[in-house]
Every structure is written in structure tokens, then in C-alpha cells.
């Protein structure tokens, strides 16, 4: 048996690329056929359209569906709403996440750093649904946030916020503000880790050099530290932006009746059977992310991953 393996190994010695090909074949076939194939077929449906009378898909190439996507004000609303939220969520998680990342990168001893790392990884990998659910109970009218405001005799502030147009609503758990909070919370670890990785790569000698050359702490932060952390922020924002664009569960559970892209896709392909329109909607986050990733790459985001 050994001599057979020996001869095969000798053959591989003379044909190194064969080995790489052998290894690559199973995953490539799997992904190519199962994933890429089905994905392309689905997205291609955006070039078909739904016959209004029969309710069946017409398999002829046309731009009807794409035009329909962009011509209906309701649809445009959905697109704008989702992109705006994705943007705000990215900003929010960057603001909350930066201090955590900064502290972790620069001021923790190795032992404490591991603790922080775990503290961030655990929520990241533990159940998405559980974490969303937890906010349902936090935001509920009778839940902890209302209780805190009551205790501080500040319920009027809470009611004031809820009565604000657009972001308010009947209760926090059915409002844009609530959605913003949940999204920011859910994707926060995705933002913290790349920022922390970028900041760690900034050698302390650079910061010391800046002080040495006369810059104040504020100047050093804005001129040296922040620009060098930017790739990490860009990388993190890829996650927060993309994940928010495509999500349909959080708007469903915490949302108002106003749709977001994810819900639109879900509804259209569901009972309505309007796969073309669902596919057209799906193209939007893909297109947006392609542009976004290109810009982020220019900012160096890929070096921070």
C-alpha cells in the first residue's frame, strides 16, 4: 500500500498544481453549483415580470420589473428608508463602539484584553433571535426603560420622544427609534472588532512621536489616531450597513407597518409569488454594497479585516 502512496506522491511531486486542483474541486463545485447557480438564477428573475392578470411569471427578458421598482413612490420610500436606517445604524455603532475598541486596543493588559475579546465575541456568536427578543422586553411599554424613566420622574421625556414625527411611535417597541437601538445593539460587535484590530496596529511609538513633535492630545487624536483607525471603521461599517440593508426580522418584530427592503423581498416572493419583483428589490442592497465595498476598499478597509 505504501508503495502505491509513494508513487502517487512522486506523481504529485512532478505536478504540483494537480494537488491544489484536487483540493479546490469539492468546495468549488459545491459553491458554484449549489450557491452561485441558485443565486444567479434568482437574481436573473429581475429581468422577467409578473403578468398582472394570470399572476404567473412571464419568462421574457424585459426591464418592466426594474422600472416598476423605481417608479412606485411606495417602493422608493422603502429603499430610502432602509438605506437611511443602515447609515444611521453604522454611525451609531461607530460612536458607541469606538471607545470600547480604543480602550481595548491601547489600555488593556493581555489578560484583560482576552476578557474584553470574549465579552465581545460571545454576544456576536450567540443567538441573534435571543438578542433581538431581549430588546422586545426592554422596549415594551411596561418594560425596564419605562420603569427607569418613571423612577427618574422623567416619563414626560419618554412620551415627548415617542410623539416626535418619524422616529417616534405608539411605544418604543414599535418605532424607528426602537429599531435603530436594536440594530445598533445587534451589529455592535461587528464594528468593534475591526476598529480594535486597526488601532492595535498603530504603534505607540507613532503617538509618542506626535507628542514629541509638540501636538496636543486632541490634535494627536484627530490627526494621527483617528485617520489610522479609519480603515477599521470602514471595515466595520461594511458589516453594519450590509446587515441592516438585508434584514427583515428586526423590522418585523420591532417595526411599524412601514416596510423595509428585507420585508419587501419576503412579502413579494411569498404569497404574491412575485419573484421578479423580489429579485429586483434584492438587487438594490447588492448594488449598494458593491459601491460601498469599493469605496471602503479605497479607504483601506480590507487591510483591517
Amino acid at each position: 500500500m505504501n508503495s502505491i502512496l509513494d508513487s502517487f506522491s512522486s506523481y504529485l511531486f512532478r505536478n504540483k498544481n494537480l494537488l491544489i486542483l484536487l483540493f479546490l474541486l469539492p468546495p468549488l463545485l459545491w459553491l458554484g453549483i449549489i450557491y452561485l447557480g441558485s443565486l444567479l438564477v434568482f437574481l436573473f428573475h429581475s429581468l422577467f415580470y409578473l403578468d398582472g392578470f394570470t399572476g404567473k411569471i412571464v419568462y421574457k427578458i424585459s426591464l418592466n420589473t426594474i422600472i416598476e421598482l423605481f417608479s412606485s413612490p411606495a417602493n422608493i420610500d422603502i429603499l430610502i428608508r432602509t438605506v437611511a436606517l443602515a447609515f444611521l445604524v453604522s454611525v451609531g455603532s461607530a460612536l458607541i463602539g469606538f471607545p470600547i475598541a480604543y480602550y481595548m486596543a491601547k489600555y488593556t493588559s493581555p489578560k484583560v484584553k482576552i476578557f474584553f475579546y470574549l465579552a465581545i465575541m460571545l454576544p456576536l456568536w450567540s443567538s441573534y433571535l435571543v438578542r433581538v427578543y431581549s430588546w422586545k422586553l426592554i422596549l415594551a411599554k411596561e418594560g425596564i426603560i419605562s420603569w427607569v424613566f418613571e423612577k427618574l420622574h422623567a416619563s414626560w421625556i419618554l412620551e415627548g420622544i415617542l410623539s416626535l414625527p418619524v422616529i417616534g411611535g405608539p411605544s418604543l417597541s414599535i418605532s424607528y427609534l426602537g429599531m435603530f437601538l436594536v440594530f445598533t445593539y445587534i451589529w455592535l460587535p461587528f464594528m468593534i472588532l475591526p476598529i480594535q484590530a486597526s488601532l492595535e496596529r498603530v504603534p505607540n511609538s507613532l503617538i509618542n512621536a506626535s507628542y514629541d513633535l509638540g501636538a496636543s492630545k486632541r490634535q494627536t487624536f484627530y490627526k494621527i489616531i483617528l485617520p489610522l483607525a479609519l480603515p477599521g471603521i470602514a471595515a466595520g461599517s461594511i458589516f453594519t450597513f450590509s446587515l441592516t440593508l438585508g434584514d427583515y426580522i428586526i423590522p418585523y418584530i420591532i417595526g411599524t407597518s412601514k416596510f423595509f427592503i428585507g420585508q419587501a423581498v419576503y412579502t413579494h416572493q411569498g404569497t404574491a409569488g412575485n419573484v421578479p419583483l423580489a429579485a429586483a428589490f434584492s438587487l438594490v442592497p447588492i448594488a449598494v454594497m458593491t459601491v460601498y465595498i469599493y469605496l471602503a476598499k479605497r479607504l483601506g478597509a480590507f487591510n483591517a479585516l
Partner: protein, 274 residues
Amino acid sequence: MLFNKKNNINKASWGLKIGAIAGILFLHIPLFLIILYAFTTEDKSYQFPPPGYTLKWFSIVLSRDDIWNAVYLSLHVALVSTFAAILLGTLAAAALYKADFFGKESITLLIILPIALPGIITGISLRSAFGVAGIPFSTWTIIIGHATFCMVVVYNNVVARLRRSSPNIIQASMDLGANNFQTFFYVILPNLGTAILAGGMLAFALSFDEVIVTTFTAGQQTTLPIWMLSELIRPRQRPITNVVAVFIICITFIPILYASYITRNTSDGEGSSK
């Protein structure tokens, strides 16, 4: 905040410390609240503070067959998907970690795509593909979906480990008389062992928790997240959902902690001289 630092540059300002700790608390307090609410006596609302505490929901959950079935299904799916993800992800990592051929970036993108694109797109695509191919929805369709996006998790871990190892140990093994297969079993596999295991643990947690792609690729099957989702939409006895949530937290915490534990020493070089 940051700018009130006094003399010592090496100590964070109080503002920064508070900001960081507040952030960490922000991440974890919701989970604590879930655990808290698992003990509440109030089952129709999310009243805070809980009016009373009880353990009865735990015993109710333990006797619920539908929940147990969902748990078993999720475990089964996670185990098989993880196994497939380990196979495919390790193969891909072994092929690509050193490679420098035309098209390598595209292949890497393809591996990452299932997890990069929104779950709903992946889910719908797979669903229509199964429909067109005439494959009935079953546990196997769920597993196929999971394996597809869990692959990248194992891939990342193994690639990182491969890039960190000395490139010469494979050559050293051959130099000492081992052919490709002996080298694989005696040198490569043991070296990759913990990376594969860690990647597998993360893949397990990912699969166990996944709901979006699962709803599209399942037939009548109910995994635990699917069960949970229906509870969220139409809550019945809320603390029961909380108890299940507590179990889910525990089940997913363990693989993560284990994965961190077994890779704890690997940031320093092992066996290389410099």
C-alpha cells in the same frame, strides 16, 4: 473625555474607561434581562420589575415535546453541517492559503459570499433552486443551506493558522522521508487540529442559531430558532420563550468559550526559531 488625560499617557482617562465599560454592559445587560425574565411569575406582559419569581417555567419547558424535538433537530443539523463545513472549508483553505494564481481573489469572494449577502437572498435562491430541481424540503435541504455559509468560518480559521506556520515544516517532513500522505497525517493535520476545531465550534454556534436561511430551506421541520421566531410573532406564555432563550444562550456560549480556550496560545510562534 479622551482629552482630560493628566500626566500619564499610559493610563486611560476616566471618561474613556467609563465609556468602554458602559459599552460592554450595553452588550450584555439585555442578555441578563432575558435570564431574569425566565424566572418571572408574570406571563402576559414584560412588566418590570418582575412581580415575583418562580422556577415553574423551567419544569414546564422540560416537559414540552415540541421544544425538545426542535432542540434535537437543531443539534442534528448543526452537527452534520459543521462536519461538512469542516471538510469543505479545510480543503479550500489548504488549496488557497499560499496560492497566487489568476482568479484566486474571485474564489475567495465566492467562499465569503454566502455569509456576506443578506440571508434572505441566500434563502430565497436556495429555495427556488430546490423547487426547480424537484428536491423536497427536508432536514437535508436545511443542512445543505447551513453547510454553505458555515464553510467560510472554518476556512478563515484554517487559513490564518496555515499562514502563521513555518512554511518549511512540510518540506522538513518530506526531507525526512515522509511522502505526501504521511506528511498530511503526522505533520499537517495535528498542526491544524485546534484551528479546525475552533472553526468547527464557531460553525456549530452559527448553524444552531441560524433562522433566516432555515425558514426558506425547511419543509415542515422546526428547528429551535424557527420555534423561537414563531413565539416572537405570536407570544403565548412569554417566560417559556425566555427559558428556551436561556438554554440557547448556554448551548451557544459553550462552543465559543471552548474555541477560545483551545486557540489561546496560538498567537505566539510555535517551533519557529525567529
